[in-house]
């Protein structure tokens, strides 16, 4: 099993924060999550559980629109949390995946 720490919208090359809209931040988070899983020999389609953390539940539909592009078939178990995030970001995701 792979337990992934909360993924935030940092640029994976420069390490710079990539603040933006919920949409742009969610794209960055899922792309970073894919890089992390692939480095561990896994992949997005081996996700079993995701906690999707948004800064405001009003963005729920926007989140889903981005989310389903990354897990289009047989998506993992998911809970959406509306929480305060670090560094003023709008989105964070943590995940459990099969190795």
């Amino acid at each position: 099993m792979i337990f992934v720490s909360g993924v935030l919208p940092f640029d994976p090359v420069s390490g710079d924060p990539q603040h933006g809209s919920l949409t742009s931040e969610a794209h960055r988070v899922f792309q970073n999550l894919a890089l992390i899983l692939e480095a561990a020999g896994s992949s997005l389609d081996r996700l079993v559980q995701v906690h999707a953390m948004v800064y405001d539940r009003i963005e729920y539909d926007m989140l889903n629109r981005v989310y389903q592009r990354y897990v289009p078939a047989g998506p993992p178990a998911r809970t959406v949390w509306s929480v305060q995030l670090p560094y003023g970001f709008r989105f964070q995701a943590e995940a459990v995946a099969i190795a």
Partner: protein
């Protein structure tokens, strides 16, 4: 073959909040090779009462109690694989980290932190998943 599922408890009964307050959870569950712990808030191990204080105080109290619960069941802090830290205010992030890193100085577990509403005026709650012995 189904995984074995058992309830795990702290040796110190003062720290068994589930039983003391009759809340419908267990201090933790062992499932196969993993221990899943319920979220822990700051509790005084001498009397089982909530122990309010600074972020540093509450963080330290929780992690000491978590160490006790894990060691009561053959595990340990260095077998923790995943942590969720829930803070009453993300402004206290650095205050929490200053104490947290004393308990996980090397090869720290996966962790996610966020700001949430907590009950009883407490400042932090921590849950974790650990490997069993």
């Amino acid at each position: 073959m189904p995984l074995n599922r058992t309830v795990i408890e702290p040796a110190n009964e003062n720290l068994n909040v589930s039983r003391k307050l009759k809340i419908p959870h267990s201090p933790g569950i062992r499932a196969g090779d993993f221990l899943f712990l319920s979220g822990m808030v700051s509790v005084d191990p001498t009397n089982g009462e909530r122990s309010h204080g600074t972020m540093a105080h509450e963080t330290r109290q929780i992690l000491e109690n978590m160490r006790h619960l894990l060691e009561s069941n053959g595990s340990s802090l260095d077998r923790v694989v995943k942590v969720n830290v829930l803070l009453h205010d993300m402004l206290e992030f650095d205050n929490m980290n200053a104490v947290y890193r004393e308990f996980f100085p090397t090869d720290a577990p996966a962790r996610t932190t966020c700001g949430v509403q907590l009950g009883f005026g407490l400042k932090i709650e921590i849950e974790c998943v650990a490997l069993a012995s």
